[in-house]
Subunit: 403 residues, 4 copies
């Protein structure tokens, strides 16, 4: 698969700036483009050029390319991948296209950044991971865009936990609550069909929560129980009501290595909650609390302080001492959500330059995919719920316990 | 069982103030005594007298009786129940004593208030409920002390939900987090043995969360999945390390009538969280958020407001318009946790006077008991966790999905 | 004035419990009665008896006495003061009655607790203070009820500052915001007339803020500038519109010994703010923040922590290690506003027992009174505002600077 | 002053994109550059080009120009202003250079954006304003950079107030608290000398607070009282200790047209407060609260709601319905502090295109300058503080009231 021509453009032999192509110009394409356009104004990164933005609609992609700072636009991603002046492919297309594009790009010797979730199925994710492993052996890097690892407050949380400041982690609580599907009259979309979206709140947002649980604790999920619910089972489509085939909300309890327990909850029908990823990590020596709607803050309870002075400390993560924050604005001048992507690009470029494997890797993405699949499996086998034991069965309600 | 002698002291024929006996003078006994001592200073309630406080240690109970406003003390609860001048028995003794005392008191024609949980086992709870049903037919009232139903903010939440302000309830999130067992060196107590405590965080605090889920939504739990964890499996006792036989933390997902989903989480090892019962109720038209550490507040998101003005509204539940609050202090002068019990006594006395059945009833307590038991059943059958489906089984970690 | 008969009832020679009389049964009378009724159930205090409640309306005071736990009621405070079985007089009557009652009680050898503000005028406050000084020499104690000194969180703040944890205090910000006068149609009352109320928001609530500034810093106000505003100048009375002759809101900047600056702001027309006394103390080594609507919390920023971990720490002041809190409920079970009075009675009784002078003293109350008067003087002399200096006077607006 | 040559480059006759020059590349230069680099990626604005960045140090400005997206760099601002291809001059240089550059640019027919405060003295500000008025008559626009008017939450606040949702505004409370000068050992800088900085916290940050008070209420300051304090009077310079000649903290009470009262407080020694501009606007029908450290949020209390449901509503100002927010990210994905500048550039460019005068104007900046000067005048004349009236002068402390 690796041809001599490809070898010439390998990182080692390349001269000049890295050429970047991005595929997709919707929400994620806009966010990634913004990061590419701004990263070099703040961080010292290897030279690169925003070469080409790829999309299906020529007019729209042309307009987006001009607006977001790309030199050219294109509609054929295969042709773009074949170009010698493209060294990086940033995949912001929908999940069902990830596998094909990513594998092709890796085989063509391009470094690949792909949006989460890695794919819509475990099988696709496994193929992608295999391609990434092979490419890595040739010096071609790959990364999955769990961008919240680059929230400075969460990066600080990771540091504190890794330093042992929380002692033994006992349990983690993570919830991702949004409300944009609350209206039962809002129309059917591809995001509500299993064949296109893979799953609903589970893959879309619970995946972030699960990645954080593993990232922050440094441990791996080994067992799950899951529950999925669809509150609005039909939505209006162009030709009448259509069945919603993904979950509106998802729940799971996880067991991790290290004896850690965790709970995950995700909903896109949590009225009033706009983008609330809340994470709570409880350890024997302290606790950390985070909320994405206040992403510049981390709350830290340090149990080594005298009881009289203990409490949750709101750290405004805007000091030069904090991860990623030495290049931004003076203390207290908060940064926005978009710069999680700026930090991600910075780390991706730095890894390419250093020849090290960036994280999270496709392997990490595959692991999340397997957890998501296990949650679905658990949820679908809920038929085994059993009636509760009762010494006076007649008066017992039809309560069932999932076993 | 109902003898002529008993009939003479029935509510209808009684003259003069109600005589009250309380059993137990520890944490709950102190809280209940405080409520009895203060309720008539604020609320218009039927006349009553704090007659006798009952406990096992004569010196300690004597001191407690004097301090908390009881006219007498006693050590034999059976003798007290037999007294003609006692009309109400308030049971604050540990859970394993509830059934015997409550059944005896009800059969003796006394109105009974019993602390939660109703009992340590479903079987005991069923016997108690049967006794309560029989007594009620004779005009003898009974009530279980899920005191948080009398937090004004939660009573207001119930009102708003019952009025339809949240539309169709979709899901509920409830967590009760404490940290007093965080220290792995803290000693063994009866609360950590299954035979005396029944369960750990599950019965102690998750029970409150489950009661609130049913109370606020007006719906009943019909299915559960549960997970229990014990993080510190041995603790120092007088004769060396002893095994902890109850849970340190509990998780459950619940299905309720009306298609509602709910999650419950409880921990006594959530470092830094002191008494944090957080409840979130999500509906199609709005959302309510509550936190017991700020018990005078309720956050209400009303989706019928224009989008431009929507947001969570922090209602300081201290206005005369709010449940129970017309008798207290001027607006903004917050009340303490203890007055959930004052309100409970007020409602109990009022129900006795009116001859109506107070809520929550023993039936309600039994229902909670069954849910707790079902969660344990589900948790204990976790052996059926299955390996996740994977197309490359070799590389799959030992991830298991509870089904 | 001190007769031999009086000597017989001096603290030294008294046998048996202290007899207490309270004067006034409205808002403050209810709050003080509640404290007397409960203090001995929680704290170890010298024996006392709630002897008599005094008020002008015999029916109402009789009802209040029965409800609030007083053995008797009376309508003639002079007769009550003359009783040999009364050792303590607790004055909850309106401000214009303080001087006469307090001086008479002190001269009759009674320990006196008087509600804040000490009086309506500096002249009255001086007479009261002189009487208190004389009485103290005879072992008769007196105290003014700045009850917020007994909020556990503020008592903890005082401890931390006194220990030097904030370093050199630089400035303090205190605001007391309420909204019960926001409605321009709400009727005229005695609280809105200068001759009965002395002042408006200034004496009513700014006085609390000023007392806290001196209490927390341990320094004294030496200079002030003040501004007063009345937003609703007329209100409906029984015979038509009447002029409001007190301030609706007050502002002051204070200079204190030790080079400290402070700002004070008070309003009874701050819509939405119910009882929000906010205090911020800024020092060279740290900062403390407090808010009365969350009176169980203190926020502490300790600048000696590494920058990476600095932040405001929300201390839930509910641990046995915290002032007054060892007798209440387990951690996290918050107490209400009313117990600032319970703690006040506890400290008052303890001081009487120990023969030490309780604080805050009448001298402290007088000092506050003088600050209030100076703020009024400053505000009333605002006629000296001068036009701003401008090099092109023609275009200058009519801006004036108070000098 | 307006020559025929200048007429040729007037907005009406210009063809092609607007050429932009920015002067200054420090904190503000970086922030403005960021806005120029990004504004067209989000908003539809007239075409422009980032032509040239001007600074004194050729190496540093060259590096900054490349990093921040400018085509060229230059060291002589006069030469840049003379260029025909420059149509807009954005002045980010220190305050003492504002007048000379701005007047020259306006006379050269360039649209001018100048950072706040307008100048270091009222006299300079008056000259600048006169130049702006003359230029405006020729179609040359000018604007002062009080960027917080472009915080979406504050723009929403302005809308709600203008619509009458708060009823009659009664008082406003504004404080701007930072802590970067807390360390008494931090060195002397030009910001601490009156001749270079004009003033300290007063001009630097209180100016923002005062601008907001006028902007939000739509009223003008007519009278002030002021107090200034310098807590650390000497700081280490290269040649030993130097005197600090500006204020560390400033206080003022303001009277505005419309009978509104306001308080202003600013400090750069408020330990723990990083960038906390807090604004509270109290009206007869509602209240608004804002805090710059959570700049995506606005708290709104609407008194027209039933009392039972009233409370402060946290509006997450991230909906398409909110000012400036239709172009950013989906709801709940917060934006950072930097985009106040992006919005400012957008409005500036739009006004240039439309031929309308952008706000805030130099007149607005001059008005702020006069208020700042009046506060200083008031503070400096504090020598007239008088002793408080006291009937027992001997015991009176040396309390003085500013009159």
């Amino acid at each position: 698969m690796s041809t001599p021509a490809k070898t010439d453009q390998s990182p080692a032999s390349r001269q000049g700036p890295l050429g970047v192509a991005a595929i997709g110009y919707a929400f994620m394409g806009k966010a990634h483009s913004n990061a590419w356009r701004n990263v070099a104004s703040f961080f010292d990164v290897p030279a690169f050029e925003q070469k080409v933005l790829v999309g299906r609609d020529p007019e729209q992609v042309a307009e987006a390319a001009a607006r977001y700072g790309w030199a050219e636009y294109a509609t054929d991603w295969r042709a773009v991948i074949a170009r010698d002046d493209i060294h990086i492919v940033d995949i912001c297309a929908p999940g069902w296209m990830h596998a094909e594009i990513a594998i092709a790009a890796l085989e063509a010797g391009k470094h690949v950044l792909v949006e989460k979730p890695l794919a819509n199925t475990v099988a696709e994710a496994e193929l992608m991971t295999a391609a990434a492993v092979k490419a890595r052996a040739r010096g071609i890097q790959s990364m999955i865009g769990f961008n919240y690892r680059r929230v400075p407050a969460l990066a600080l949380a990771r540091e504190l936990i890794a330093e042992g400041r929380l002692g033994t982690i006992r349990h983690v609580r993570a919830a991702y609550m949004q409300d944009w599907l609350s209206d039962a009259e809002s129309p059917m979309t591809w995001r509500l069909r299993k064949e296109t979206a893979g799953s609903g709140a589970l893959g879309d947002i619970a995946s972030h929560a699960i990645d954080q649980i593993q990232y922050l604790t440094g441990e791996s999920v080994t067992e799950v129980t899951g529950t999925l619910r669809t509150f609005v089972s039909e939505r209006p489509g162009p030709a009448g009501l259509e069945e919603v085939t993904v979950d509106d909300a998802a729940w799971a309890t996880l067991g991790l290595t290290g004896g850690i327990g965790a709970s995950v909850e995700a909903s896109r029908m949590a009225m009033g909650q706009k983008n609330r990823l809340q994470i709570e990590v409880y350890g024997s020596k302290g606790t950390l609390l985070f909320d994405l709607e206040n992403l510049n803050e981390l709350n830290f309870m340090d149990a080594s302080a005298p009881v009289r002075e203990q409490g949750f400390r709101r750290i405004l993560v805007n000091e030069p001492e904090h991860p990623y924050m030495d290049v931004w604005w003076p203390q207290g001048h908060i940064i926005g959500w978009e710069h999680t992507f700026t930090h991600q690009i910075r780390d991706f470029l730095t890894a390419i330059q250093d020849g090290t494997a960036p994280v999270p890797s496709f392997e990490d993405g595959l692991e999340i995919q397997r957890v998501l699949a296990a949650i679905e499996t658990s949820a679908n086998n809920r038929s085994t719920l059993t009636a509760l034991s009762s010494s006076s069965a007649a008066s017992a309600p039809s309560l069932k316990a999932g076993v």
